[in-house]
Symmetry: C2
Subunit: 369 residues, 2 copies
């Protein structure tokens, strides 16, 4: 029932009920999978905010035959998140009335994203997951997996995320939502039959990108250099006379508008604002302590979006800490995507611990890379 | 000629020529000063981006009789920055044609702000400055003072700033300028006879505020709490149903619009983008090494806007380092304004070192607080 050819497939999972009490009828989940599924060898990958199910593209050195996520051994599966725009139902999808959801699309939480994925797994006949792995928004979903469906999981690897949104994260994420809302084309989210708010989406991405990248890395690359052929030091300021870093950020912004929908960006950013594993579970530390899934935690030393102390907090409080690892990099948050060699080592180590865990559930292993 | 009553006064300094080659005719500089001027006892304070000459308001525990900046001993002087909106000529001022400068106001650099201030001091008959002190944009101006007019200075205290804008700073500052530019009322800066771009200015301030405050401090205060009476977890996202931190940032944004002009915000943010003490001086480290003014450097351990390693860089390379100090605070960048007790100690220590320097110019003192 699961297509493991790596091609993008879609499955209708029926109606979905959100944590906040709304109904999304007839939800479609898109997915890709690689490697034969043998019942107990499924590894579920959770993508980040503007990521998608094509893991072999955004983690090219990590997934494949003989790689850390070895598709000769494992069936590696990734679904597109609910609320996104890569095949799974989101604001740009058609509602039952045949018009795009737009502003009518309900707010979704990280838990909703996970619950929809679980509903999908049931539809395709998967009842057991060897491991869930994710970074950033994918890490938030991985954490929620361990608390919502612990019995289906052998182990989890959580990268570059926190137990809940920090106030700073909510603030900077809201600044991004505001940038989109202030685009005159936004129209409260109902723009799908008109012009898309591309300038707002690009502005949001420029802000976001500065939280994804370490200031040392950006500064080493650009410093105060002028964009070639432009003079940012003229007698009057001009948006066409830029510093190199301004041009770089403009490029990052435009690039996102070519592959991502503003409505989905707002929906998933809002999901991140609502990320809080303590909600309804007696608070953060009680929720973490209650976790029964062996979980490994990793973070990046220069991450300003999810500072490393947030992963240390997870490691101190998780009920069953498998191991803790630090990615050392000037890149900042995005290092969980770019530092392939370190991520490779972390995942291989994690899978060894998880295999050991599966063999001997009585022995609890805590370890450092 | 210098009014030291603490009231806001203005002086016409004549025409001003910018670093980039523009002319601003008939520039007015506004200032406030406290404490009798005796020729060799002037302390010049440089305010931050949206600060102003009223130092006794934004550094209430620092300036006054018996305080660290003792107005019984010193004459404490602060001018409003060129390009600002607190009495000194800026984009909202009337150009010679009787209309507001608006988009015609030339781009100004940090060096221009300092050069205009020097021109002002000449007009009021001040030829000797005992010390220049400033944080953030004020720190950038203080650094430029030491390189532009070393012979007029005994010593300098530079707080929470860097030798030049980092690429990250240019990026996040440009995001703020963009927020204002995208306000439909901005009109390329020519809005003074119409509606001001207040929503854009508030959006800029919300982004800026997140760089002024440490994430730990904001998180301790707000976490994921809802604003009382609002529900940020409803079935649909709504700007009127907020997390507490969103309400806090909204308040910070609106508060700035009530006291600051968007055109000045853009002009002075652009000056920060152009901050580079290495420009035309053979690069950063050569410029720093050439400094002959005994300079003390201080920074904040949790500053994400001007990370402490930037002050360490200054301390390693400045030609005449007087001392180095670290402000320890969860507050982040703004700690140079809020941690009065630590700033008090730093300034008292600095003034002792500066006095010693004035007495015995042959002895060079390097020291840690």
């Amino acid at each position: 029932m699961l297509d493991t050819s790596g091609t993008l497939c879609t499955i209708n999972i029926g109606d979905f009920y959100t944590e906040a009490g709304a109904t999304i009828p007839d939800v479609t989940i898109a997915y890709q999978a690689w490697g034969e599924f043998r019942g107990d060898n499924l590894i579920l990958i959770e993508h980040a905010l503007t990521g998608d199910s094509n893991v072999t593209e955004w983690w090219p050195d990590i997934v494949g035959p003989g790689k850390a996520l070895d598709t000769d051994t494992f069936c590696v599966l990734c679904t597109n998140a609910l609320g996104g725009c890569m095949g799974t139902t989101g604001p740009a999808s058609l509602a039952p009335d045949g018009h795009p959801w737009g502003s009518r699309f309900p707010a979704v939480s990280i838990r909703d994203l996970v619950a929809a994925e679980k509903q999908f797994l049931e539809r395709v006949g998967v009842s057991e997951v060897h491991a869930v792995i994710g970074g950033s928004m994918g890490g938030a979903r991985t954490l929620e997996w361990t608390l919502l469906y612990p019995k289906q999981l052998t182990a989890a690897l959580v990268l570059a995320v926190s137990a809940r949104a920090s106030a700073w994260q909510i603030g900077i994420q809201t600044a991004q939502i505001n940038a989109i809302e202030h685009d005159p084309h936004w129209n409260n989210g109902d723009y799908y039959n008109g012009t898309a708010p591309l300038a707002g989406l690009a502005a949001a991405r420029r802000i976001a990108h500065l939280t994804y990248r370490g200031e040392l890395e950006i500064d080493e690359r650009f410093g105060t250099s002028a964009q070639p052929g432009e003079n940012p030091l003229g007698t009057h300021r001009s948006p066409t006379q830029r510093f190199a870093v301004q041009s770089y950020l403009d490029y990052q912004g435009v690039k996102l508008t070519q592959r991502f929908d503003a409505g989905s960006y707002v929906a998933l950013t809002e999901a991140l604002n609502r990320h809080d594993i303590g909600r309804g579970r007696g608070g953060l530390n009680k929720a973490l302590a209650s976790s029964t899934v062996p979980t490994m935690v990793a973070g990046v030393d220069t991450d300003i979006l999810y500072p490393y102390h947030q992963q240390e907090h997870l490691s101190r409080n998780l009920g069953k800490l498998l191991a803790m690892a630090k990615i050392s990099s000037p890149v900042g948050h995005d290092a969980f995507l770019t530092e392939s060699r370190q991520v490779d080592r972390i995942i291989r180590h994690f899978l060894l611990l998880a295999a050991h865990q599966a063999e001997d559930d009585g022995v609890f292993i805590s370890d450092r890379v």
